[in-house]
Symmetry: D2
Subunit: 397 residues, 4 copies
């Protein structure tokens, strides 16, 4: 993969290159070899490019010696110090490549001129006068080759799902992405779970619909029931969403919400009659956003609007996904995976869930282009709608 | 536990009661028995109280019959329908208690007058004319007794850790709590992990310190290093925190940040020299908020301010926790558990982590009074600081 | 709750007691008071009982002084040392109750005779000659009262879901429980997810059916499809279950498995025709174990045996749960929660899932009697079946 | 990356190839182009190779038409049906490439001869006589290109960490790997957390040491304290490990275990004196397996053997990792990440943890070669030791 990474990196950094020679290792243990001419915009740019490529495992035929600068004090590094990778590394000293001992990541390389040896040191081990490698010249890295046999065990995992990402900036990027899809006349489908209501984000989601950012809602019975319960009684499963307290006789509200819709025969009738006056389903109905509520075996009720036959529900989902440009999945394992199975690999998908296993499962099932964001919809959605409101009010609907 | 629950519930609802008789079952299978006189503020209030108590397993000696109302239509319930629990239930019909069949939670009870039987029905099974139990009279519930022997297996779990809670209202409550601690002159200690910087919430946390809501910071090397990296280079582990991109040569920033502080010999020297001009550690130093950075075996560097001996670090933590009224733990497993072990059970603790296992672990180790909030600090902290800013600017420092 | 705990603990330990006096605090801040006579089997037993009760917050009217023994060496405690709780604690010294300073859990109490004070010390702070409290006498603990108002925030969590439990002994207990249900002629229902096949435990599960420990299988399309794929091709989603490698053209196997069953019109026809010769579904069919496969919107196929209408599937699940004494849930979120909603609170439930959120969710929805075991079905089931095989072969079917 | 994948796949399958022509797209939107001659061992083998390559996006200059076979019955596919990917796909019909509509994964392609169109169909939508694409000829797939600009958002995640792997076969592979390292005279280091004791696997781990499979143990205070508590009292944090019950006065055992070692001044003295007679630490001492217990701020005690200065502990860890060939990490977040930072990228690492976040964190910090196994050590270790015992008793120590 190294070569691919090198090509990509050159292009990412705005450089140019030509392949002069190219030999691929055909047998299990062969090395591949490629000779490139790399061109930068100017000398500085070229140096930058080369430093990056050295780090990836490339090296120049006309190599300079590794530069050494003494440490100015105990535990203090010279500026420009070279920070190591965990890959086997050699440095060019007095015309000879010597291998660095004790290879570890994020350390510095200290050279012992007498023994002509080099090793990785922790910053807290550095002594005044230690000869530290600086810059990127005279350094050769050998990333591990992809093992070709008997390697099953060590191929299992290459995870990058992580909650350690800058959340507010992610929110900003998703908002911009949504806005851009809409100004170009594209459609956005949202797959949503009941945690949106539980975590107090129903109001934000309703606003997102009102702002025109939702062209189709794909969900199940639970979201609609919780939303109606919240709209009618201010509770979600009997818990007061404003202050987290359990409301008196709140345990009835769930079933009572279902009963109110049963009386009206459908959600849209309930809106027409003035029974349902706010919330997510209300906004869908008055803004004519089509929705599909798929039945599941754990449903209470279910509401008359729910498609209880899962094969029919799948068909309706597919109809709603026609011509969609962006799918946003919010805190819904079952429906997110169902929708993931229906999408081509070219579809952009954003999946927000507090449980990393959901985004992992999406990937395991092939929806590889998903941007998996491990976050809390209860805090994520209010911030997202804040960002969306910063854009010009009238999106192209 | 039923009796305890009943006492508590009466008091919660503002009622009064007197214990007339009280017998406790001494042998494994004995029932306990208590006779109470319950007093409400008026008839309505009393009825409310009684309904709640019936639900908990109490019943009145002068019971009325269960009220039955026919369903007005298929799948539609009469108003005031009784919503079931999963506990064994009997109803009083024609002077006889009959046991409800097919007991399930959140269903309704339908009575068959001919066979003198009753059973739980799903709302979608209800037929027009079905006799549905309404109200709370004539209903007797028998919660399972606490099993007394051989019950090891079924005592393992009684979890309530959950991310399905209304997040924005939680944020509001914590802000109010923090404000109230401060206006009374109380101290707040914050235990913080590096994810605060990774998720882009360093700015919010720095503001929280500036606002005066942090009286002590308990953390480790990583938070300080990431904070310094972000303050000096705008990155966290080389990732641009504003837009999530990997910055060029960003891999060096982590070590370079450490090196800058090494040059100054300490964080406070770095602030004095004008090297460190913003961020979490900067705010602590200029606002004279004491901090303790405890060393850990995974540290890079570590910074000169880090207490590398863990026994000494524990002592310093304890000094900083003196007279503290509220401890807030933000995305830090190791230090949160360490602090949890140092706190008396009377201390208020709020623990915010995206991983439910952290709050669970805190509990397993005895910090039972922790409010565990499963959320994303990257979205949680900005919302919290927004709330804190709504309070009068000058808190009692 | 303290009183309840004391009653329970006395009975657990085989003691006896009589309530002499009992006053309950009626107003928010009142204390409750109870006077008991506690009887042990002999003096030793009584002392044991009393020590436990002191720890829970009880204390004797005729209290002895706290016993003090000097530490024999630095960092070494006298035998019988008292290990602290995190609750506010007082000790009786020279006839006066003095409050222990620096209250922390799992520490020792050191008394300073001169200042007549006591404080918690870490074991590493203990100096030779320090007067350490030993035994349980002369110690009074005051557990925090249940806060009665404004306490919403601090009531959220009381978790005990934990993976830190002795797994092999749990396995043994569940096996015994299953055996005991069966010898009494009881029925066991199993709710199962496809991870059983993915993790290579299909063979163990098939054996469990053959041994007669499964009286009903409640699952969905995915389990059956994966099981058939594994039975026909040795793969699960194209991955060779024996060695974890991806098999050539394995991506087709999933759909090909469905197609083979489609050709036979049903699983039982496929068994009759000799197409399906082993596996979970095969064992159900030849052992006449009834099963229900509920449809879900994410299904591929689905198989002809799947009940695609979720309301009908719910009914079928309920039929299969009739007269069941024990429900075992294995790695299936959706179906486990669906079944949890259908069970009375008296039903014994064991739920095994690697994701702690599943057992937490079960609890949040009311199935409070579940024994939640956070483990890996792929390693759990083989160990369980090993244990089951140790019981006399012919269970009462 | 497509080309790299194609080269790799050919070699994996035992084929050979020559690069005839090779042009790389230099600008952001350019395509890359490569012309290969592929050689198989025989015609069958070549066909197999080609089918795989087509699937990866390659296609042959002399393409045949897509083969169509009518469905034999409703919902039944012809044998050899082509199972789709989620990538945009075209098929060659009557000499023209037509694009497949409704592209979804794991479906079949149905061709409408009249309209000369093709679309993906669910198996349950297939009608008798539908013309279904079979085989792999005449099919062209276009995987999405790696987006080159503004792509930050959609690069976040490429997770494969998963618990849905065949556990028993993984156990077998790890055992074989361990055996192979040992017979070649290699060293194995184990990083271990206290959950090993909690989950009842201490006995298995002790046996693994006795069998000679552990050459160094890297851990912390908690593992040793729990192990000693279990060895002396049969409990772990006061819980009886055999049956999961809480033992009487068990809360003292943790501290009492520490005190017993304090009396002896070290673990090895305690072994010498006959105080410590079994368990993990005991086996290390009698089998002369070196260990390092690194201090952490949450430690109780700590034991005299613990290195409380983290910088010194890091050094000791590094000494123990010298010449190690395989590192096994068992249920220890802190120490696993610490060790991960000390390893070169060429080191083989196996990490077993029930929390997927641990393996994810290991990866995020650069230990990319880790095999992350999401499992329960309590069930995993007994199975692993069972496997290890199957190998010839005397490994080369």
């Amino acid at each position: 993969m190294i070569l691919t990474k090198i090509f990509d990196r050159i292009m990412d950094l705005g450089g140019d290159f030509e392949v002069i020679e190219f030999r691929i290792g055909k047998r299990k243990k062969d090395y591949s070899y490629a000779k490139l001419v790399v061109k930068g915009r100017n000398e500085n740019h070229l140096n930058l490019l080369l430093e990056e490529l050295y780090r990836l495992g490339a090296y120049s035929p006309e190599v300079n010696e590794a530069k050494l600068v003494p440490a100015p004090a105990d535990k203090v590094l010279p500026d420009g110090f070279y920070s190591t990778t965990s890959h086997p590394t050699s440095i060019l000293i007095n015309g000879k490549w010597i291998e660095v001992q004790d290879q570890m990541m994020d350390k510095v390389i200290v050279v012992d001129k007498e023994s002509n040896s080099a090793r990785c040191k922790f910053i807290n081990e550095v002594k005044r006068g230690d000869l530290i490698v600086v810059g990127e010249e005279g350094i050769k890295i050998k990333p591990p080759e992809r093992p070709r046999e008997g390697a099953v065990l060590f191929e299992f995992m290459a995870s990058k799902a992580s909650s350690e990402k800058p959340s507010v900036s992610i929110v900003r990027q998703i908002a911009r992405d949504m806005y851009e899809v809409k100004v170009k006349g594209g459609k956005i489908a949202v797959v949503a779970g009941p945690a949106i209501v539980h975590t107090g984000a129903a109001f934000s989601f309703a606003k997102m619909i009102r702002l025109g950012y939702v062209d189709a809602l794909l969900s199940g019975n639970a979201l609609a029931v919780h939303d109606v319960e919240y709209a009618l009684f201010g509770t979600s499963l009997g818990m007061n969403v404003e202050n987290g307290s359990t409301s008196l006789k709140g345990y009835r509200n769930h079933l009572a919400a279902i009963n109110e819709i049963m009386k009206s025969n459908s959600l849209s009738e309930a809106v027409k009659k003035g029974v349902l006056k706010k919330g997510i389903m209300y906004e869908c109905i008055v803004n004519e956003v089509p929705f599909a509520l798929a039945g599941s075996i754990r449903d209470d009720g279910p509401l008359p609007d729910v498609i209880t036959d899962v094969v029919k529900a799948q068909k309706r989902y597919r109809e709603l996904l026609k011509d969609v440009k962006l799918v946003i999945m919010l805190a819904s394992t079952l429906h997110s995976i169902a929708v993931g199975n229906l999408l081509p690999s070219t579809m952009k998908v954003v999946c927000v869930d507090i449980n990393p296993a959901v985004t992992t499962k999406l990937m395991d099932r092939g929806t590889a282009q998903a941007a998996g964001i491990v976050s809390d919809v209860g805090t994520f959605l209010p911030l997202l709608v804040d960002e969306l409101e910063k854009y010009p009010i009238k999106i192209n609907k």
